[in-house]
């Protein structure tokens, strides 16, 4: 009965093209004394790029971890592919500000880690890993160890590893936040291309408003203490986008709109 119901839910969600849906999602720590996130209701369409923007402490990372099933919500409903989120699941893959590579594994061995943790690595997995490293521009660095790579290159390996999981939902928690401006800008553009190529749904946490708008189809604007989802802002610009977009009046009008939401709440 229960499984029938949930598969029916999954079917409806799929028809509407919604992959992640939250209703009144809340998370508090310490028995309710610290509220990290409150009343977040949202839905994310398949294949869309959603930025989560807001100041520190607005619950962006908490929301990402809730969707990944790494922490449990304290209230509300949260489904991924129409299925209730309970514990870590293989539909999503995460990437953090730090590359979190294993320094005793070569780049390609790091990319293969998620497969290795699940089953025996096949020739197809190896071929896929090679292909992914080429996609992130590290074809010639497959056998380099993390400490032999720059910070930007390490994040590229982490991105390839994330794609190797086969997850169709990518949760990126300020993935390029620790890198310099130039590297970050270049990686953002590559990220858009790669995500487009694999057709993944992406949630991208940042506290940079320009970056949030430039990358996304939708921007979730969040306000702090307690973390609340203030508004969803639609970004209408066509793809592929170039950095020149950020200079147009339309783009800057959106920036002003997001600033306004953040400022008035």
């Amino acid at each position: 009965m229960n499984t029938m119901q949930s598969s029916a839910q999954a079917a409806t969600a799929a028809r509407r093209g919604i992959v992640i849906e939250g209703r009144d999602v809340g998370k508090s720590f310490g028995g309710g004394s610290v509220i990290a996130l409150e009343g977040a209701s949202f839905s994310v369409k398949a294949g869309s790029f959603v930025s989560l923007v807001g100041p520190s402490g607005c619950g962006k990372s908490t929301l990402l971890r809730l969707i990944a099933g790494l922490i449990d919500r304290t209230s509300g409903q949260l489904t991924v592919h129409g299925r209730d989120v309970k514990g870590p699941h293989s539909d999503v893959g995460m990437m953090f500000q730090r590359a979190t590579l294993l320094e005793w594994r070569t780049a390609i061995e790091n990319v293969l880690l998620p497969v290795e943790l699940q089953r025996t690595v096949t020739a197809a997995d190896r071929a896929r890993a090679t292909e992914l490293l080429a996609m992130v521009g590290l074809k010639d660095f497959a056998f380099s160890f993390p400490s032999q790579l720059s910070g930007g290159m390490q994040q590229r390996v982490a991105l390839a590893r994330l794609l190797q999981t086969g997850a169709d939902i990518l949760l990126l928690d300020e993935p390029f936040g620790a890198l310099d401006e130039f590297t970050r800008e270049r990686l953002n553009i590559e990220l858009m291309r790669i995500v487009g190529e694999v057709g993944a749904t992406t949630l991208f946490v940042t506290h940079n408003i320009l970056e949030a708008i430039f990358l996304a189809d939708e921007v979730m604007v969040m306000t702090p203490r307690p973390g609340r989802l203030a508004r969803m802002v639609h970004v209408p610009f066509a793809r592929p986008r170039t950095p020149e977009l950020t200079l147009t009046p339309e783009f800057n009008a959106l920036v002003a709109e997001v600033r306004d939401i953040l400022g008035t709440h």
Binding site: L70, P88, H89, F96, T100, L117, F143, F145, S147
Partner: protein, 279 residues
């Protein structure tokens, strides 16, 4: 590391050291020959050379003792390290276990291990058993503490990553915690191996039938200081042998901490990958 061609210039690096050594030995020889130092207590370097030649070449009587002490230190180390690693792993897996084990580990550490010598000799006798036991006891602590500290270092981001990949607790331990602990564990093993040699030699000084420690005691009691110092050289040799064995293992196992080794391993893995792809 050094470029291969640096090898051609090795005399330029080694010669100044040799010159200094010769000068120091010359000064020593001269001081003793001039009569300002008692020749019985402080033998001339030339007399030590003669004793070395006798012990190591003409009679060759040192080797039996050399290998006994080496074996005592190595077996003691293996036992001590085995117990230390087993307890450290158990402690890292269970907080309760750690709570009960750590007071004993601390007591063992603050008690001078050497002070156990008479008791250990009473328990294990004059033979190799007591030397191995003392070596094991005193090398235990540095290995235990380093291994446990290494295993306890946790990186929340990496643990979270493993969980998001659906890794089991066992996989988190074997694929993440253990490799991350290896550098510290090897630092502990290096200290432990040197300590084990000290344990073996001290137990030999106390009471023994064979080994370089007892040989050195005998020469000193007979006021044959040249032979005693010649015997000391064998302890240095054992120490060097053990030290470089550990350095070699450290280099192999914790390769990602050494640039030169990392490049070599990187090339080896690339070759292994290529040959795997052909199949």
């Amino acid at each position: 590391m050094h470029e291969p061609r640096d090898f051609l210039f090795w005399p330029a690096r080694v010669l100044p050291h040799l010159a200094l050594l010769v000068a120091l030995l010359g000064l020593w020889e001269w001081a003793v020959a001039s009569g300002s130092v008692d020749t019985i207590m402080v033998p001339r370097p030339s007399a030590i050379m003669a004793a070395i030649f006798e012990l190591y070449v003409t009679k060759g009587s040192i080797y039996q003792h050399f290998f006994i002490t080496l074996a005592e230190a190595v077996f003691g180390f293996l036992i001590g390290a085995g117990v230390a690693i087993a307890l450290a792993v158990s402690s890292s897996l269970s907080e309760n276990f750690e709570r009960y084990v750590s007071p004993y580990a601390v007591v063992l550490n603050v008690t001078p291990g050497i002070a156990l010598t008479p008791i250990i000799i009473a328990w294990f006798g004059y033979g190799m058993g007591s030397k191995i036991a003392l070596a094991a006891v005193i090398c235990f602590f540095p290995i235990f503490v380093n291994t446990l500290t290494g295993l306890r270092q946790t990186d929340p981001d990496r643990e979270e990553l493993f969980r998001s990949f659906g890794a089991s607790r066992r996989q988190v331990f074997t694929q993440l915690r253990v490799p991350a602990a290896l550098p510290l564990m090897f630092a502990g093993l290096k200290i432990g191996l040197t300590t084990a040699l000290i344990g073996a030699v001290v137990a030999e000084f106390a009471q023994a039938t064979a080994g370089v420690g007892v040989l050195m005691s005998r020469f000193s009691f007979a006021l044959d200081m040249a032979s005693s110092l010649a015997t000391l050289l064998s302890m240095t040799l054992i120490g060097l042998l053990l030290f470089y064995t550990m350095e070699f293992l450290d280099d192999r196992v914790v390769f990602w901490r050494r640039d030169a080794r990392m490049s070599a391993v990187s090339r080896a893995r690339a070759r292994a990958w290529a040959s795997g792809a052909e199949k």
